[in-house]
Symmetry: C2
Subunit: 559 residues, 2 copies
């Protein structure tokens, strides 16, 4: 008989359980903590003027001498986006695969944290130690490349954290989902499986990344003019499919959008994408080639007001010009909350005379999910056969439905534990139970506009809003005429109080008026664009004149 | 040979073409105008503090002596919701079917316009005259009952306006889609078909309203406790199915929510719903029956903060109490833009321990659309065989795709004309062409909170915002603790300038604090609820103290 070690194992989700995004979890044995993922969340529309949201890491800061490192499962923003913020507060070693590290390096470089960071490359199948934990990265498939699940060996047994995954039998990089390792752990015995709940509501099996290839085939065959494809810049599989097909169909490829360029460069450096010589052209060269010889890979699938595609849609992009008869492909899903912005952009594209192809449920699909649907979730549960099952990554209803699914799988799952961000799940030799809670929450960050170096350097906690206050420019636009009615109102609080009533206010109003004047009619009809432009221009002005960084939240009143 | 009459026929959409909702169209021959539908639009989230949006009817007002009447196709808000506003400006006769008129009467009564309105009941198959037009209402099926398409006989030929429709072969009221009349018009020749574009993106055929019955069957058979079903209050088919099934399964029925009660009463009066004696109970009686004997029909499918279901979800409803093990059915779709509110409500319901059934794509469906999918759209086009086809009811991309569909139907369609709100489509003996545009736009209305009689009486055009100004209460809530940080800020403009800085402001702050204090923790975490409560309380206070009706737009800052 084996003597069980005396001690407590704690699993402490700091974000992502009961909310979408901001994935971050502490695993603790005695005085040693390892953190899995450090993600951000994109703010809800209620949070006007906030760019990103990161988890409150008070728990880690209170235990700062015990935190041994942060292990990342993959490179999506909801898993790595809070790193600059966390490392600023707590500079511990980071462990991630080669591709994930490349994203991390870019991000830390932007925040001038790269020199001080301790980055360790890990590889699927190669175990490494962090404090008392031996961690075994297991190769999984997802919409991004080089993603891993983690088997964390603890004194009480093995915990498997799925990361984000789907079981794709034909990934474009041919790096397969490592079923065998999960199977082996299942045979040996697993204490707990923590599994991604994102697609628990979808029946069946998520199609392979290659399924999109059939749609692209069709599009390339039919398109007689310029072809624009937009996808998330991290959709390396998608970018690879598009570039391979462009080469076959003798089209040059222009990359438009900073994130698209960065991401493609990383993928090329690391061998995920091969671009034959002479294929890539600079966006400025688009006009030199006949339209049927050009593919433009462009960022902005979510209708983000300042993105390449949004600007092209209102004919406000220097190089990406959309002509009647061109084809625009949105190879992405509609993130809930973005419908209006996206459909508005699609309307603009149609008005330009473009053929627009987007995910409308038709087959073959122009987009596939990166997350496991119900049959895949069941497959992994059957392989791993955990004593405890804990749903992670999802809003409450998703965790709940995932818990119900696992609860119905007799023979494959011992018990199901539902926990949320802030709950402490304690394991000892007798079993598992929910313990007291720790402080968790959301920290709002205004990360500054891209391209503005000064602002990019600093990532700023807005918790003490009173320090820098806020500015609400209120613009009354006559919907009928598109004209701005009367001088813009500006409401300022907790900021530059003395001068606010005087020159600053007047100048700020002038800036808003100037921004409006230099906008096209199409932009003016699109409040998302107008708001973002005003925000950026005002911000530049305020930072320059006051060195303060208030929240700026334009409000448009239609009258 | 027939001599064609000399003259011009104009089709002038004033709303609903190139935007979602706010359907309204003028048809003009010489000096006579008939208006089809008078709908509202629910505002985009950018329009903080606005309740509804109605079309600008300047065109009708400029031609007020020529407007002969308004004909309504059915009783949904996006077809009748602007009536009170339009009749206030232009009191012309209204024509509608019996059921539609019942909704209209309720609405006009609320706005004290019923006595002065001239309402004419029309019936499917019975032609009537409005000015020079003979109008033939044709029975169609839809998610609502007593809906019609209109065949409008003009000196240049027949125009068919589809209204909203699906081709439901088994509607719950057995009133069938009148294929035969469309077929006859198609044989005789139709000048133009104006057809609903809402579901142009959906392939195939929309399932019958009865398809939901199979899901309800399943739910009633399994539910061992209290059963809550929520649907749009106008979903008469759905309410009928639920009540019939409740009777079969020996459950009493309680109706919760004013709109649900009103709607069920109308449907009962007009014979669309039969409620056996002793079946209906008052919500106050719910607690007197054992849980497995009760069905609660409750309004609030869209997570509207003050609706019955939203309040029940946070345990803040007097009669509708949700216990662990109860079942809650959302028999509705998620209107884009409402996802977060709806999923937040679903999370609350799960936290209460309820089984929640919502439209997650599984079969049998818990909700079906009321609009024709592509095969149905093609069917009607084939039956009608119009010389001109004009897509209506849709955003630009939907109109465009509908135009493409019709354009590909050789032999069934002469020409396709794409027009948008404000375009004038002119017909004469030679053909059709786009003419100059007329002024169109959106008018924002703050209709007042329900239940507050004084506010309900007046429907107020907010075009002259400067008259009443606006109030922005700004509340900083600490997400971690849920505590309100510091005294709420209130920004007022264009309103009560003299007293604003003094007592009024202080009192308004106290009201916000009081509202926050009497809210539950769950409500506080739900910004939608908190904002709406603050808005209503502040509004009551401001109206009482100043007799002004400023726009009130609570802003919550999470810090």
């Amino acid at each position: 008989m084996i003597t069980m070690p005396m001690g407590k194992l704690h699993i402490v989700p700091l974000g992502g359980l009961g909310e979408f995004g901001m994935n971050c979890m502490a695993v603790r044995w005695g005085d040693d903590i390892v953190v899995i993922d450090a993600g951000l969340m994109f703010p809800e529309s209620e949070l006007l003027g906030v760019d990103i949201v990161v988890p409150d890491i008070s728990y880690l800061l209170e235990n700062r001498q015990h935190v041994r490192g942060i292990v990342l499962t993959h490179g999506h923003e909801d898993h790595i986006g809070a790193l600059p913020y966390i490392l600023t507060e707590l500079n511990v070693p980071v462990y991630a695969t080669e591709f994930t590290l490349a994203y991390v390096e870019d991000k830390l470089d932007e925040h001038q944290l790269l020199d001080s960071a301790v980055l360790n490359e890990i590889r699927p199948g190669q175990r490494f130690r962090v404090g008392p934990f031996t961690i075994h990265p297991i190769q999984v498939t997802h919409s991004l490349v080089d993603c891993v699940a983690l088997a964390i060996h603890t004194p009480l047994g093995v915990i498997i954290h799925s990361g984000d995954f789907k079981v794709d039998p034909t990934p474009t990089d041919n790096r397969l989902f490592d079923l065998h390792t999960f199977a082996e752990y299942g045979k040996e015995g697993v204490l707990a499986l923590l599994q991604d709940s994102t697609n628990i509501e979808r029946p069946g099996y998520t199609p392979s990344e290659r399924a999109v290839g059939r749609k692209f085939d069709e599009v390339f065959a039919r398109c007689q003019q310029r072809l624009f494809i937009s996808c998330f810049s991290s959709s390396i599989h998608r970018i690879k499919l598009a570039i391979d097909m462009a080469y076959q169909h003798r089209r040059k490829v222009a990359l438009v959008g900073r994130s698209m360029n960065d991401s493609a460069e990383i993928a090329q450096d690391l061998g995920y994408i091969e671009i034959p010589d002479g294929t890539l052209i600079h966006p400025g060269e688009i006009k030199n080639f006949s339209p049927e010889r050009v593919l433009v890979l462009i960022s902005g699938t979510q209708g983000e007001p300042m993105s390449g595609l949004s600007r092209a849609a209102v004919d406000n992009h220097k190089h990406a010009k959309i002509e009647p008869g061109d084809t625009v492909v949105l190879s992405s899903r509609i993130i809930p909350g973005n419908e209006k912005a996206i459909y508005r952009m699609i309307d603009h594209l149609y008005r330009r005379g473009a053929y627009v192809i987007y995910d409308d449920g038709s087959h073959p699909p122009v987009h596939v999910s990166g997350h496991a649907a119900r049959e895949e979730l069941k497959l992994l549960i059957n392989l791993v056969r955990p004593r405890y099952f804990i749903p992670i990554h999802g809003e409450y209803r998703q965790l709940k439905r995932h818990a119900e699914l696992a609860g119905s799988m007799h023979g494959a799952v011992g018990s199901v534990m539902m926990i949320e961000s802030g709950d402490v799940l304690e394991f000892d030799e007798l079993g598992a139970r929910k313990q007291t809670r720790v402080a968790v929450g959301r920290i709002c960050i205004d990360s500054g506009s891209r391209g503005d170096v000064v602002e990019d350097l600093i990532i700023k906690d807005r918790r003490h809003l009173s320090e820098d206050g806020f500015v609400l420019p209120i613009i009354a636009i006559n919907k009928l005429t598109g004209r701005v009615e009367s001088v813009p109102e500006i409401v300022m609080r907790g900021f530059a109080a003395a001068s606010a009533e005087n020159g600053l206010m007047t100048e700020a109003r002038q800036i808003i008026i100037a921004t409006l004047e230099e906008s096209t009619e199409e932009e003016k009809r699109d409040w998302g664009v107008i708001k973002e432009k005003i925000r950026q221009d005002l911000k530049r002005f305020i930072v320059k004149n006051t060195s303060r960084r208030p929240l700026i939240m334009p409000v448009i009143l239609e009258i």
